[in-house]
């Protein structure tokens, strides 16, 4: 019975939230874009018209045609199929790297805000360091030293993208820990661990969701940029690697637009989707930004 009631409560909370979210036009557009790309990633083998890895030296750098919708690259691979498969890596890196970043950020923010004192001082100095540092340059240097692999890129992006989340969670924690029910929990003998993760954590989460959407969009951009510069794994099929080869093979400089334009539009759309969702969540959850 308890489980059913819990589900019902969750469902009602979700329905209430959805009815507010639905009225936010930009947010709905963002959600549609994201769902579009998730479907594209899952069903890539059925959407793709060719084997994305099959090379054909006789058909290099062909412009778009009925046979090859997005043309072919310098080794004769079908670019439409490669672009469809490319959605997988971007989404994977986006979600996983942002997961790492949000995990670190929430943890640091909670500890820092709750305990205060020298712990707070030390953690916030470190956070400020990462907030101020040019993240992309740092990522380039570390990824170049670690060597190119998908997991390295995910870890590097995750490990360098948590500072914004940590700042927000910390300031939320500072407010929430003064609320009466925390006092009550303390009085009834709850330990630090229980208060932090059972009472404060759930109240911080809504803001984290809004922030996570922006973190995902940053991770997608960073991955594409790293691969474009040649410090990620350029042999995976991703939008970044298509752009990398379009640039480094000289196809861009000689005006092969069909090679360069589509992956960029896909990256742009996907990032735009996450930014719209993040922005709408912030507008809904932050009362100051709500309508006057």
């Amino acid at each position: 019975m308890r489980g059913v009631r819990w589900l019902k409560l969750k469902y009602m909370a979700f329905r209430d939230f959805w009815s507010i979210y639905r009225s936010n036009k930009l947010g709905v557009v963002g959600l549609i874009i994201i769902v579009f790309f998730i479907i594209m990633a899952i069903f890539a083998p059925y959407i793709a018209t060719h084997d994305p890895n099959k090379t054909n030296p006789a058909k290099y750098l062909l412009p778009p045609s009925e046979e090859h919708w997005f043309g072919t690259n310098e080794v004769g691979q079908d670019l439409f199929s490669r672009n469809i498969y490319g959605a997988r890596i971007s989404l994977l890196v986006g979600f996983l790297a942002a997961g790492v970043a949000v995990f670190i950020g929430v943890f640091v923010g909670l500890i820092s805000g709750y305990f205060g004192g020298w712990i707070d001082e030390v953690l916030m100095r470190i956070t400020d360091f990462f907030l101020v540092m040019p993240a992309l340059v740092l990522m380039i240097v570390i990824a170049a030293l670690l060597g190119p692999s998908l997991i390295n890129v995910i870890l590097v992006i995750g490990a360098l993208s948590w500072s914004g989340t940590a700042r927000i969670v910390r300031s939320m924690t500072l407010t929430i820990k003064e609320w009466p029910f925390i006092e009550a929990a303390k009085a009834s003998g709850a330990g630090h661990f229980k208060i932090l993760f059972k009472h404060i954590f759930p109240n911080v989460m809504p803001v984290v969701y809004a922030n996570a959407a922006l973190t995902i969009s940053n991770a997608i951009f960073s991955q594409a940029a790293l691969v474009f510069l040649g410090v990620g794994n350029v042999s995976d099929i991703s939008w970044g690697s298509i752009l990398h080869y379009a640039f480094s093979s000289g196809a861009l400089g000689t005006g092969k637009w069909w090679y360069f334009v589509p992956p960029g539009i896909f990256i742009l759309l996907l990032i735009y989707g996450f930014i719209l969702v993040g922005y709408s969540l912030e507008e809904i959850l932050n009362p100051r930004l709500r309508h006057r």
């Binding site: 993240a135 030293l145 334009v261 990256i267 922005y279 100051r288």
Partner: protein, 322 residues
């Protein structure tokens, strides 16, 4: 707190940050696989004398803590050894590159901030209506564009229609008659990278300005001023903008890291001979001393810019000194 002690505290924090950067660099380039410091010696292009000089400079035969102290002093002096590729001092390579980068970054940032303020104010004032939504949608769109892709699009545009130079800083192989023809050549090469970087930064600054102005516009004193019958333009100019500008200073300083990231990608695409393009070439050539020096010089520049912003902020708004 008095202003002088506030400034002193900021300077101390910046020094600590620079020390963290140096330690970070030290451990990064020693602990990670490949040990790039040892790689310095595997460079086949080095002569016996150069290897001895390197040994002395980095004190590689000494214990780790001594190596670290030597490294800190070397970093503070800008000494990062020799580039694998150029076989010249990293510092001598970096300085002209840094100047080239500033030629691109400074005008792009200033123009982007000015445009961002203009449209940010407009959006905040027309909050929620069509003007606001379209400014916001465009800004977020520009903010979402991958910098390197936008640059590539301008290259394609230039190949087919604009016919502007798409790479380098000046035309190779010609000698300029006078300073004006040199500047003209430079400017024609600057246009595309400048427009690319400006557009990417514009989106970000507009959103920041809009949100910080909206924060101010919901304050009670704005409502009071409106109720007293103050005109809209006067209200914006005298009451809202000055208060919204303050947080802008520190937010712009914090976001300098993003400006630098954008510049690295823009320089790479347009082959602009700045620090960013140098990093790209260093990755391709596995030129670790250059990578190390470039990261250090970028990080220190960002810290110093933040220091200046903090000092300025403390001067304009005495409240933050406490």
């Amino acid at each position: 707190m008095r202003y002088s002690s506030y400034v002193l505290k900021r300077v101390a924090i910046s020094l600590v940050t620079i020390l963290i950067i140096i330690s970070f660099n030290f451990f990064l380039f020693r602990i990670l696989p490949g040990d790039p410091v040892r790689l310095l010696f595997r460079n086949p292009n080095l002569t016996k004398e150069q290897i001895d000089a390197l040994n002395r400079k980095f004190g590689l035969d000494k214990p780790l803590y001594e190596q670290f102290l030597i490294y800190v002093f070397n970093s503070l002096r800008g000494e990062f050894g020799l580039s694998f590729f150029y076989r010249k001092s990293v510092f001598d390579i970096l300085v002209p590159r840094l100047i080239n980068s500033i030629v691109l970054i400074l005008p792009a940032t200033v123009i982007a901030i000015l445009l961002g303020m203009l449209f940010g104010v407009l959006a905040a004032w027309r909050r929620g209506d069509r003007v606001d939504v379209s400014i916001l949608a465009v800004s977020m769109g520009l903010y979402s564009i991958p910098t390197f892709w936008l640059g590539g699009m301008f290259i394609l545009l230039s190949i087919y229609y604009l016919h502007l130079p798409i790479g380098g800083m000046v035309t190779h192989g010609i000698t300029h008659q006078d300073i004006f023809s040199y500047l003209e050549d430079l400017f024609s090469h600057l246009i595309l990278p400048l427009v690319t970087l400006t557009l990417v930064l514009y989106g970000q600054f507009t959103i920041i300005m809009r949100n910080s102005l909206i924060d101010v516009l919901t304050e009670d004193y704005i409502q009071a001023a409106l109720a007293k019958g103050l005109s809209v333009s006067r209200l914006l100019r005298k009451h809202a903008l000055p208060n919204a500008m303050l947080p802008m200073i520190s937010i712009i300083a914090i976001n300098l890291g993003l400006v630098v990231g954008g510049a690295v990608l823009t320089e790479t695409v347009f082959n602009w001979p700045g620090v960013g393009r140098l990093i790209y070439d260093a990755i391709l050539r596995r030129d670790y001393p250059i990578l190390q020096g470039a990261f250090y010089i970028i990080a220190v520049s960002v810290v110093l810019a933040n220091l200046i912003a903090d000092i300025l902020y403390g001067f304009l708004d005495p409240r933050v000194r406490y």
